[in-house]
């Protein structure tokens, strides 16, 4: 019952409906589109968005685990932890600001009282063109701007989070080195995780705390995963402001295990000090530019001390090392203190190598009961090879040849074995008795110590010579043809000599010549060993022929002491010598410090109480001063320790290295220095019966392990 329209001027007209229908279709189509889109997002893509939602409101908080300490054999800390307040910045947040974070950093510089430029430098990522100070870690980690911040300053920053966007202050465990530079190269150091490491190491990626450091050298590197522990993971439900709404899951961190080492803090200190003192004493006559001392437990291969001079304090790495320090540490003037001479240095071993040559002779038909001529010099292949100082000893036993360190006896061995292998042109497979014996002593390959970057040294033979020749032939042949015009300008005769030499190398450089075999026999020429290899060889002689892989690590003990895992000694092999040869060698070595080349150094040493067995070595390298070696073990009748001392360019073994080794023995056994080295008269203890407190009471390495109590305290091992 519709009423007529209000306006009579408008007669009812039929309105078209086409337009309306079209609009209806349009609207239905648009909303159908919304429906389809909704379906697409929620059903086929639902899982994807659910995952995104979880990562959105689940914040994974990685709770860093306390890194385990590194302890000496008694339980004294070599590396421990200290809590420090650290101020750091979110790299992306700061660099994303309109002014690149300058305003925030300049506020921060006032609060921290650090120049703005320094903060800005620390914010830069290290790269080939970016000099330290810079950030060596990943840009996804908070960049450390200041360490060791005072608590009120840190609190100020934490309380005013809105004034310091992107800046955090938090407690942060950092490594502490109670011994300072002691055993620096052995302990290694930590550095922020790099992007590459994160990508390469699954265990780092899954428990990345953002302030994580990773072991870069030494024990910190080798045992990183055990020391690191397992970070805790707390998953929190958060809202858009990051406010915590609930704890979804909580896995507490598992602290890293303590590493108990075979090292003894005292012996290490004595070794480093003795080394430094002995090197200073060798100067200025000798350069004495570097040195190493190794103390091994001959019964297990445990490393009691591993000293390398020059050394450095690993704490320089903390908080971002500056470019000056970094450059200095890598510079040659500073003596490359990062390098551990004990395991990375390689030097010709000189006469200490004669133990290998004697063994090779004894095992290849040269009787231990015969005597051999020891003239002042021998002429081999038209070349004269002489004894040290050209002194002859007549016809002597091999025992005596070791004691007086007669070279000519060994020259002859080397020459004869070279001849029996066919000399320059061997027929068939040469025996290489000398080289193979050296390898049997562990030379020419890494010892397998639990430290990184160990050198393998070099045991040259015919095969090595050929390989070397092939690698250098091109250069040598070029020089043989074109000479040395640059040298000729100043020294034409030397240039001519060099050209002849190059020609020789080019044409017949593959030949293993008599002279080389002869030099090999006394540990000269191309033979290179590391102090550790030599110590390991002498340890094997001492213990009856068992060659261990040296170990610095002795055991892992969990932070609460509940789990103890010992690191078992690993046998690398046996010396390929008969028991007879071995005891013959032991007897000869025992006499060296009493009546031989080391008798001067050990004059007055109470050999009746602790008998030392050892061998001196004085190795020549063209263009360098003679390097001083002393390789030894003690007590000769019940061997416990093998000690090797090297002083690069330090003079003869008896004059420089042996007195250093003596000092280490004195420290271990508690004998005061007297005799060879005049004792300081003022030192009251020294006058008292020649005995001080022994570093290792009982004269043996520590047995057993320190005890870690459930509360984390450590009971030192005692005797």
């Amino acid at each position: 019952m519709r009423r007529p329209p209000v306006d009579p001027s408008q007669p009812g007209r039929k309105l078209g409906t086409t337009g309306i229908v079209l609009v209806q279709i349009l609207v239905v189509a648009l909303f159908a589109l919304l429906g389809v889109r909704l379906w697409y997002l929620q059903v086929p893509r639902g899982e994807h968005y659910r995952e995104l939602a979880v990562s959105n409101h689940h914040q994974r908080l990685v709770v860093p685990a306390t890194r385990g300490q590194i302890l000496d054999a008694r339980g004294r800390p070599l590396v421990s932890n200290r809590t420090e307040l650290v101020v750091s910045a979110d790299y992306h947040e700061l660099t994303g600001m309109d002014d690149g974070g300058e305003a925030v950093l300049s506020d921060l510089s006032e609060v921290l009282d650090v120049p703005l430029e320094e903060l800005q430098q620390r914010m830069r990522l290290c790269g080939p063109d970016v000099q330290r100070p810079c950030w060596p870690g990943s840009p996804y980690q908070p960049v450390t701007l200041a360490e060791g911040v005072d608590a009120p300053v840190a609190l100020h920053i934490m309380e005013r989070a809105d004034e310091f966007p992107g800046i955090t202050a938090q407690a942060h465990a950092i490594r502490e080195y109670p011994g300072g530079a002691l055993a620096g190269q052995v302990l290694g150091y930590l550095q922020p995780v790099t992007q590459e490491e994160l990508e390469a190491r699954e265990d780092l990626r899954t428990q990345f705390t953002g302030i994580d450091h990773v072991g870069r050298d030494g024990l910190e590197k080798v045992y990183d995963s055990r020391l690191r522990g397992t970070a805790g993971l707390r998953t929190l439900g958060v809202n858009n402001h990051g406010q915590v709404m609930e704890v979804i899951s909580d896995r507490p961190p598992e602290p890293g295990m303590h590493l108990v080492t075979h090292l003894d803090l005292e012996v290490q200190r004595i070794a480093e000090e003795a080394l430094a003192r002995g090197m200073a004493a060798a100067r200025p006559r000798y350069k004495a530019d570097a040195g190493a001392a190794v103390v091994l437990d001959v019964r297990t291969g445990g490393v009691v001390a591993l000293a390398s001079v020059p050394t450095y304090d690993p704490s320089v790495w903390q908080g971002g090392i500056d470019q000056e320090t970094f450059d200095e540490m890598l510079s040659e003037e500073a003596g490359e203190p990062l390098l551990s001479r004990a395991i990375q240095g390689q030097y010709p071993p000189g006469s200490t190598f004669k133990v290998s040559s004697l063994s090779a002779a004894a095992e290849n038909g040269y009787s231990l009961r015969s005597t051999y001529a020891c003239p002042g010099s021998v002429n081999i292949g038209g070349q004269s090879f002489s004894n040290y100082a050209g002194q002859g000893h007549g016809s002597i036993t091999l025992h005596r040849a070791i004691v007086v360190s007669c070279n000519t006896v060994f020259y002859n061995f080397g020459y004869q074995m070279w001849l029996s292998d066919g000399g320059l042109h061997p027929e068939g497979e040469p025996e290489e008795a000398m080289a193979n014996m050296a390898r049997g002593y562990g030379f020419g390959s890494p010892t397998g110590i639990d430290l990184p970057y160990e050198t393998s040294g070099r045991i040259p033979d015919r095969e090595w010579k050929r390989t070397f020749w092939e690698a250098t032939r091109e250069t040598n042949c070029h020089r043989a043809e074109h000479g040395y015009p640059d040298v000729a300008e100043t020294d034409p005769s030397h240039a001519a000599y060099l050209k002849r030499l190059a020609h020789e190398h080019c044409v017949e450089g593959f030949e293993w010549r008599a002279g080389e075999a002869v030099n090999f026999a006394i540990g000269q020429g191309d033979v290179l060993v590391s102090p550790l290899q030599l110590a390991n060889a002498y340890a094997a002689i001492a213990n009856g022929g068992t060659r261990y892989e040296p170990r610095v690590g002795k055991a892992f003990i969990s932070a609460d002491g509940s789990v103890v895992e010992e690191i078992e000694p690993v046998v690398a092999g046996r010396l390929p010598v008969s028991d007879e040869t071995l005891s013959y060698l032991q007897a000869a070595l025992t006499e060296v410090p009493k009546a031989g080349t080391a008798s001067g150094a050990f004059g007055g040493f109470p050999q009746d109480r602790v008998s030392i067995a050892g061998k001196t070595g004085s190795a020549d390298v063209v263009g360098r001063q003679v390097s001083s070696w002393f390789a030894s073990y003690a007590p000769a009748d019940d061997p416990q320790f093998a000690i090797v001392v090297l002083v690069s360019q330090g003079g003869t073994g008896g004059a420089t290295a042996a007195p250093i080794a003596r000092e280490i023995y004195e420290g271990i056994y508690g004998f005061s220095g007297e005799g060879a080295e005049e004792a300081d008269a003022e030192d009251a203890e020294d006058d008292d019966g020649g005995r001080t407190e022994p570093a290792l009471p009982g004269g043996a390495p520590w047995e057993g392990l320190p005890t870690v109590r459930p509360d984390g305290s450590i009971d030192l091992l005692d005797r």
Partner: protein, 390 residues
């Protein structure tokens, strides 16, 4: 759930005896659909405004209480308007339009308040309202009157009418742009285009205006008339994930909320995205994301369906009119609701740039709710008296 619905009991009494016959002929499908949307909307506002820290999970929030109060007032007004003869409303069209324009001017005076970067509010005492919402009602009424009742015996609006209508549009449009409120400006434009297209105006004008609408969109884009943040919003629409913490953050979080709801949703009050407040403005502009997460495809899809029903019904009513004025009234309201709903939902689904427009009947916001239901009342008034299609 009984708080905000006054039908059929108490409201009928208020409508009064003269309107009783009309009320009987109210479009029940339309009312049912809108009512359902209001109920769902109240629950969503409730969920969206629960404390973010997870405390007191089911205590009714201040927002939901106010929302229910707004709905109650709005429904009363809706039914009141529905009971009035729509033809008599025509006489007040100029008045309503004029009042809203004055309010829009007042917004720009010190009486106005800036909320969310836009000067769109008038605050008097503790009471605040958004004139631009009411202006939509005024504009629909004014345009329908103007184009639905050509003067001088013409059956269709002529050029002069169209020019006058353009002036009627330009006044509030300019005022809203000054706030600035791009969303409402677009709604005004769409209402105008919808009414003009259906008015029977000269085809040249219709085609010209449609072309102008499209051109204006491009002009805004090309001539950089948009605020930088608006351009960012447009840009991130292409790839919301590219910059999740920047301009694309809202869009990316909205997608995560909706997508993570899956087929059946996390359940009402159970949405972790919602409760973590990851989507901003989730009780107003982004309320659809709450539906997407907590009610899933089942619930959110039902909402899309309900909206479709609402527009379909309104357009059917328009189709049934044998007079241009009521038809244009319905078309205007339909264009307004449909455009605003499409933009709002499309924004939550990442297919429309982020624009601040509430979802009709669902979003929190008193002025918008009142304006929506008053407009619905106009449509109901038409349907009860001009049901030519029956």
């Amino acid at each position: 759930m009984s708080t905000h619905v006054g039908l059929p009991g108490p409201s009928r009494a208020r409508i009064g005896r003269s309107a009783a016959g009309a009320a009987r002929r109210l479009d029940r499908t339309l009312i049912g659909a809108v009512l359902a949307l209001c109920v769902i909307g109240s629950l969503l506002v409730w969920s969206a405004t629960l404390p973010g820290d997870g405390s007191g999970p089911l205590e009714a929030t201040g927002h939901v209480r106010r929302h229910l109060a707004h709905l109650a007032v709005a429904w009363v007004l809706c039914l009141a308007v529905a009971s009035v003869d729509y033809r008599s409303v025509r006489a007040y069209a100029h008045l309503v339009y004029g009042a809203t324009v004055i309010a829009l001017i007042l917004v720009l005076t010190p009486l106005g308040a800036v909320i969310n970067g836009s000067r769109g509010w008038i605050v008097i005492g503790g009471f605040q309202f958004q004139p631009s919402e009411l202006a939509k009602v005024g504009l629909v009424l004014m345009l329908a009157t103007l184009l639905g009742e050509p003067r001088d015996g013409e059956t269709k609006p002529m050029t002069r009418d169209v020019l006058y209508a353009l002036l009627v549009l330009a006044l509030p449009l300019t005022l809203v742009l000054l706030q600035p409120d791009l969303g409402t400006t677009l709604v005004f434009g769409v209402i105008f285009l919808g009414v003009l297209t259906m008015s029977g105006a000269p085809i040249v004008w219709v085609a010209g205006m449609l072309a102008c609408g499209v051109a204006a969109g491009f002009a805004v884009w090309w001539f950089d008339l948009l605020e930088p943040y608006q351009l960012d919003r447009l840009a991130t629409l292409v790839d919301p994930a590219a910059d999740p913490q920047g301009a694309g953050y809202n869009s990316a979080q909205a997608l995560i909320a909706v997508g993570s709801g899956g087929f059946d949703g996390t359940g009402l009050f159970q949405g972790e995205q919602t409760h973590g407040r990851f989507v901003p403005e989730q009780h107003t502009d982004f309320i659809f994301t709450v539906a997407g997460e907590e009610l899933g495809f089942v619930g959110a899809g039902a909402m899309v369906a309900l909206f479709t029903v609402v527009f379909w019904r309104i357009l059917r009513i328009a189709q049934g009119c044998d007079q241009p004025y009521p038809r244009l009234l319905c078309v205007g309201v339909a264009a307004w609701f449909a455009f605003q709903s499409f933009i709002n939902i499309g924004m939550g689904l990442g297919i429309v740039p982020v624009t601040g427009l509430p979802l009709p009947f669902v979003s929190y916001g008193g002025t918008a709710i009142v304006a929506n239901l008053v407009a619905l009342g106009l449509v109901l008034a038409v349907s009860s008296r001009d049901r030519g299609f029956e």
